[in-house]
Symmetry: C2
């Protein structure tokens, strides 16, 4: 299936970043929204993202704004689309309402991919006319830079829609991780939440400051996590015996640590401590623009990984 | 306090990597061990680490093996040391025995820093002649590349020893994170364990494969974690309202995810699934040497961060 025309429903930051990525790969893109001035905001965000895509060799010249259209009516916006990326608010009633509007205009076989980070594909597709073509395709912010797309089927999703979505995202340079079934938080946000829960415990209990928790991550295990996940990390930690040696010999140490991990509550006192800690952290940044630093860092990191991994990554 | 002579007790991989780092900063280094041929192994590991240190601008020319000595007797090895880095096995009785041997030879004010990843400073210093000069200084593997050193006081540790250790590690380019008190796993391994527990849950429950868990980390949130920790990440996720906006509006979503996180057991069935999953992952690596790739990646990543952060990092 050839994907030439893509409609993005919801023109916020995620929608605009998707738009830049899809334009860079030659698609005609329609962005639908009803917010005031969203056309100008999306155009500006695409213009900001474009030099990043050029730096990564994924785009050339100026942003092809002649292939970018806008619409306010959802059904009309979806009428000619081969693929629909839904980026609305993460509330189930809003999502179902959006799906109904999309299906009122879309071709019956156009895949509808939801960018949701917190809802389940099975819940979103519930009540749809063609639930079999609805998937979750969850990106990380900003989607035009971070390669991961988590592709998740709902209970009613068909194999055909999964195959089309898999081929589409892989074709635009995304690293597709396919879940066997939908679970709250997919994979990456479950892992992020597990890490954050312990980060909250450490600050709430006064073991270390929020700033030092962040420094421990970015000068320590975070460096490795940019290059490999926990399984390969522990495989290397097991020496010649690999992961089997690690888990058989140090598994009990891990399990002992698990028993010591915290179970914090986000009560007002804890939230106050966290906010004060992050205020200190932000004060320490000085004149640095952390979002610009992040994006420069991400571009450099993607170039680095391409260099060490050759053409595979 | 001038630190010219350093003794490393324990000549395994961690000890050898510390030795290369200390040599690069001009120290005279004595490595103590009793294992057969450990002198040859440490010399080889220092030789392997040296080009990494040269690439990072932390060393020049050939490894200064004339400043590297070996010893088998612990007390004798520590007699002339200004600073002692203990890298023995992580078992409390072995550690206490090593501390007694170190103290039998060491100057009374030489700081003794334990590299332990799983023991508490308070337990290690218990029964020592001079417990006030014993600290935990936990590196990440390999210590000559990963900048993080977690500096942890035991209940009996003195402010003077903490100050000496802090100045020493900062002076050799380490990013020192100081804990307010000792806790199992310090900070970074608590965070790593929290992430790994959920990674085990995801594979044990069949939500995704071990390979896909690793891919989700290294192509997704792991890219950001090399550049910033969870607190700054969520601060940016809060937009103009920052972390306060994030936690006040999306805190409930986080708490809901925490309630869904797994509590896996490392029973034989789960361990078998994990080993099979990592076998698949390793089979997919083909001819790549993952440790060499990791070290090349870490060097590139440290260079990148120096570039985007100027002289601060």
């Amino acid at each position: 299936m050839q994907i030439n025309a893509i409609t993005i429903v919801g023109g916020g930051l995620i929608g605009a970043s998707w738009a830049a990525l899809f334009l860079a790969h030659g698609a005609r893109v329609t962005v639908q929204d009803v917010a005031q001035d969203f056309e100008a905001r999306v155009t500006k965000e695409v213009g900001r993202a474009w030099p990043d895509l050029v730096a990564l060799g994924m785009a050339h010249g100026d942003a092809p704004l002649d292939r970018l259209r806008f619409a306010s009516d959802t059904a009309q916006a979806c009428a000619g689309a081969d693929f629909i990326q839904e980026c609305g608010p993460d509330r189930i009633n809003v999502k179902r309402d959006l799906i109904a509007q999309i299906e009122a205009g879309a071709k019956p076989d156009a895949v509808i991919a939801s960018s949701t980070s917190s809802l389940l594909a099975s819940d979103i597709q519930n009540g749809a006319a063609h639930p079999e073509r609805i998937v979750v395709a969850h990106p990380f912010n900003p989607p035009h830079l971070i390669p991961l797309v988590e592709l998740v089927p709902g209970r009613q999703t068909g194999a055909q829609a999964m195959a089309v979505a898999r081929t589409f995202y892989a074709g635009i340079g995304r690293e597709v991780v396919e879940l066997k079934r939908d679970e709250v938080g997919h994979v990456a946000n479950r892992l992020s939440s597990a890490l954050f829960r312990e980060a909250v415990h450490i600050v709430a209990e006064g073991i270390a400051s929020a700033e030092d928790v962040d420094r421990a991550v970015m000068h320590g295990p975070g460096l490795r996590w940019a290059l490999m996940g926990p399984y390969l990390t522990y495989h290397l930690g097991g020496g010649a015996g690999g992961f089997r040696h690690y888990i058989e010999h140090l598994g009990p140490t891990q399990a002992a640590r698990w028993a010591e991990l915290g179970d914090p509550k986000l009560d007002p006192e804890t939230v106050g401590k966290l906010i004060a800690g992050v205020d200190d952290l932000v004060a320490g940044l000085g004149d640095t623009d952390p979002a610009a630093r992040r994006d420069a860092g991400l571009i450099g990191l993607l170039e680095l990984k391409r260099r060490i991994d050759g053409d595979q990554s």
